[in-house]
Symmetry: C2
């Protein structure tokens, strides 16, 4: 399929008027065609108007219609074939198996949400039947369901050109909830975005839905992104990216005449606690697993293990030796964009130049453009606790800081000082159980996901997943951006009191025609 | 019980240092003793520190322990006896049956939350069992439960000295979720607040809970209230009151180093649509019901019907005649505070002085202090649509504006122009069903609760209730402040990946020892 470099507004492909953006192949430095001429306020308004006019129709499509739509999007993405993989590889520098895996994840996610829409848990149907004889006052018939919030603005990051981008988790969960979506494409992968956007356009048409259900905008974050979040027809925002980007959108959203929720997944250093008995018994194996997780995908994951916390001593020294060896052997990898590479270099230089931090090892240096050298550093808990910037340093890439603690008490204090995180990991043996128990309350307050004897990279798309966590990991700790519960971000409850049967939504009618789980008088009916 | 005029910080009663506040009996103008000397930043910090130190223990109390605590609070409130009713009547000017009813509602609400805690729906337990043989990658064991957000700051309004105050819905749902509570008492009913606060203190002690689970502060909103919301140990805010008060707290909460959710229930004019066939067939009866709802409790409800929308014509004229007669006969009533009375007078004067608004009727004038005269006014849809201030005018009290529409189209435009509302009401007959259907999508986007052939005053405390709605009715349309779903405001999900059985929380252990409803591999098990 020939790329056109145009904005997709409903079923149209439209030329912008602002500055053109070209993708750059980070592995070669080569500029990729075509140029994507950015849109402006005009195009934002058009996309939002279409989304708004589609909203009432789309949100009342049946679960089956919406599920088929999500499945059709997945099929249309698969139908693009190898063009998608090759363009995504060229725009991201990521290898083929990773891009093929990510395509599988993206389509699997869309199909999971199709099953979620059909199952109907998201409706949260509640029925409190009338009690006409209750004293002193009768109770009227009361029923509740969830409805869609409204059109959603989606902003993806550079590091998942498919799974967190145009048809990624935010889009899939918004569409599943009944919300039209306007995506602001990431400037790092415009061609991948266009290919997936056209697949979405086709699915909208094939399913006979109003065209405003999906639009794709290109342009500057400061102009197009800000105008999109400020538009009164947008009712929620999904964002994955940097802390500064996320907080900028939060400010715009809060200053609207009608403030709206922003679901921003921003920054996390994902502490890993090496508990003493596990470290003693199998420090080598832990070091191997750690460096595998650290260097996977050039460390460009929001769940990358950027902080390791352990007791000082011979076991930790042995771990550092083993991990240092593995880091030294780790090959250079191409990073996603020149900007990402530059920020990584700065972050590593910060550790390298810090008085309280010692370099343990660096990975192999590369010869190509935008290649990163992994980095492993160590500091003491005293230094870590004494310097706020060390606690808040997220180096996006394959770089990690080990914090050596002189006592249990110091280790607890390090844990307590952490900001909100996506994940917290325990490497532990049975003999560490008491210590793990004493850490758990702190970790529960700090993180959205707690792991034992695994690694935080690799986020399963399932019903129990929480890819979220207290601020600044995300803007809203009550939610997840991965897994089926992500749909609840885009819904709100409505109560219907004594409505005639003919006016009740299908989900609430007598006899439960949709066959969904309901809470009747407070009792769960599966 | 002798009132002491002190702040309750944990189990202590403490004297403040700031300006003293005395309640005023609005019916007599009399100053009520004792004086409540306000606290300052010092007392806020003490209460927050205690709440924080209680948090990890309290949030892990078993459902049974927490349920018994809620039931004990209810019993302790009942044990205060008539002193509570008399003080609440003196501080609010509300009549005895209303205060007795409100006490019943308050204790019933606490007992409802006890049953909710035991039932365990709030845990939202999800289990995705390990799939060790899955290709290409095995799935690890993943489980999810909800945990409490942290200490909650609660601010009540003047109009429900019991049900939305110290032990009201926000406190009950926070405590049910496992969150300690710090209440900032409303200055209109400090004595009622102290009585209920002491009942809570006793319940904390009787149940052997850490004292920081509950504190009660008196003082100025600008100092004590602002310091409370800004305190880093507070993790959420429950507020019921004015739009200016709610948005001020939202701004403080958003500007913290760690922003936190504010659940502010603020302003609503609760539109009532009189559909043509119902209006023709039974305009008199509708007028009677309407004026009953309008004037109940001097109209001092956030669900008071402040806006009536109908087609112009003889049916509406007849309705206005009948409603006007009923308003004229409605006796004067004492309002809650001098400030409420003054704001009401200003609101009515605004309608009376507006060129596009005609007075239909005023109620009887009173002879005592702070007495209000009900008011009914009428305008045209053209005037209403032409003047933003008319659309946004919330007159807190027994005053309502009727909007006469020249066409269906105009009526739809009036509906579409409304801000977010707690409720929207349809007076309709079977022959109005098509028109109701065409209005429903708009009403669903505007309101948290939609009623047919009832009146919005009277909010059932049950599982389906939504006392919420789009901004500015509330700050967060995804939630309710009344009913069992209010508990979800104070919870967040945590995912546990491959944790050893010995480390898993009770709710997630194999065999489901708490016997709660679970979503296993996406399938509901009741």
């Amino acid at each position: 399929m020939a790329l056109e470099g145009k904005l997709l507004i409903g079923q149209r492909a439209v030329s912008g008027n602002a500055n053109p953006i070209n993708a750059i192949n980070p592995a070669t430095g080569e500029t990729l065609e075509p140029a994507y001429v950015g849109g402006g306020k005009e195009e934002v308004a058009q996309a939002c108007e279409l989304a708004w006019s589609a909203f009432d129709t789309y949100r009342e499509t049946s679960p089956e219609e919406r599920a088929v739509f999500l499945e059709t999007i997945a099929s249309e993405i698969e139908a693009i074939g190898d063009d998608l993989i090759e363009r995504a590889m060229a725009e991201s520098g990521l290898p083929r198996p990773r891009m093929e895996g990510e395509r599988g994840r993206t389509c699997g996610q869309l199909r999971l949400f199709a099953s979620v829409v059909r199952a109907g848990e998201w409706l949260d149907v509640r029925v409190d039947p009338a009690l006409p004889d209750r004293e002193p006052m009768p109770r009227l018939d009361l029923r509740q369901r969830h409805v869609a919030l409204g059109p959603v603005a989606v902003f993806g990051p550079s590091n998942f050109p498919l799974a967190f981008s145009v048809a990624g988790g935010d889009t899939a969960s918004s569409l599943a909830a009944g919300c039209p979506v306007v995506v602001k494409a990431h400037s790092a992968h415009p061609g991948t975005s266009e290919l997936v956007g056209r697949a979405l356009q086709k699915a909208v048409k094939a399913c006979g839905l109003p065209e405003g259900v999906f639009s794709l905008l290109f342009g500057s974050g400061r102009e197009v992104g800000a105008a999109l979040v400020a538009d009164p027809r947008i009712k929620a925002v999904g964002f994955t990216g940097s802390r500064s980007g996320g907080t900028a959108l939060m400010t715009i959203a809060q200053n609207r005449a009608e403030p709206i929720p922003v679901y921003a997944e921003m920054s996390s250093i994902n502490p890993v606690f090496l508990l003493p008995e596990a470290l003693k018994a199998r420090g080598d194996k832990i070091a191997e697993g750690f460096v595998g997780s650290l260097t996977m995908g050039a460390g460009q994951f929001c769940t990358n293990p950027g902080l390791v916390i352990a007791h000082e001593g011979t076991s930790l020294d042995a771990f550092l030796d083993a991990a240092g060896e593995a880091v030294k052997e780790s090959p250079a990898q191409t990073m996603l964009t020149p900007g990402t590479h530059e920020a990584y270099q700065e972050g590593v230089a910060y550790y390298a130049g810090h008085d309280g931090v010692r370099e343990v090892a660096r990975g192999q240096a590369g010869s190509g453009t935008n290649q990163c050298q992994a980095g492993l550093f160590v500091t003491t808990a005293a230094d870590f606790l004494g310097d706020e910037t060390l606690q808040r340093q997220e180096v996006f890439g394959a770089c990690s800081l080990v914090v050596a603690c002189a006592s249990n008490d110091e280790l607890q204090r390090v844990a307590e000082r952490l900001e909100g995180q996506l994940t917290a990991t325990l490497q532990m043996d049975d003999a560490d159980l008491d210590m793990a128990r004493s850490l758990l309350p702190t970790l529960e307050r700090k993180a959205g996901r707690i792991l034992a004897n695994g690694w935080p990279t690799g986020v399963e798309v399932c019903h129990s997943m929480v890819h979220g966590g207290p601020y600044p990991a995300t803007s809203d700790s009550r939610t997840t951006s991965v897994g089926s519960a992500a749909i609840f971000r885009f819904l709100r409850p409505v109560c219907y009191q004594a409505l005639p049967e003919g006016l009740l939504p299908e989900a609430l009618k007598d006899g439960n025609p949709l066959g969904v789980s309901r809470l009747v008088d407070g009792k769960r009916e599966a």
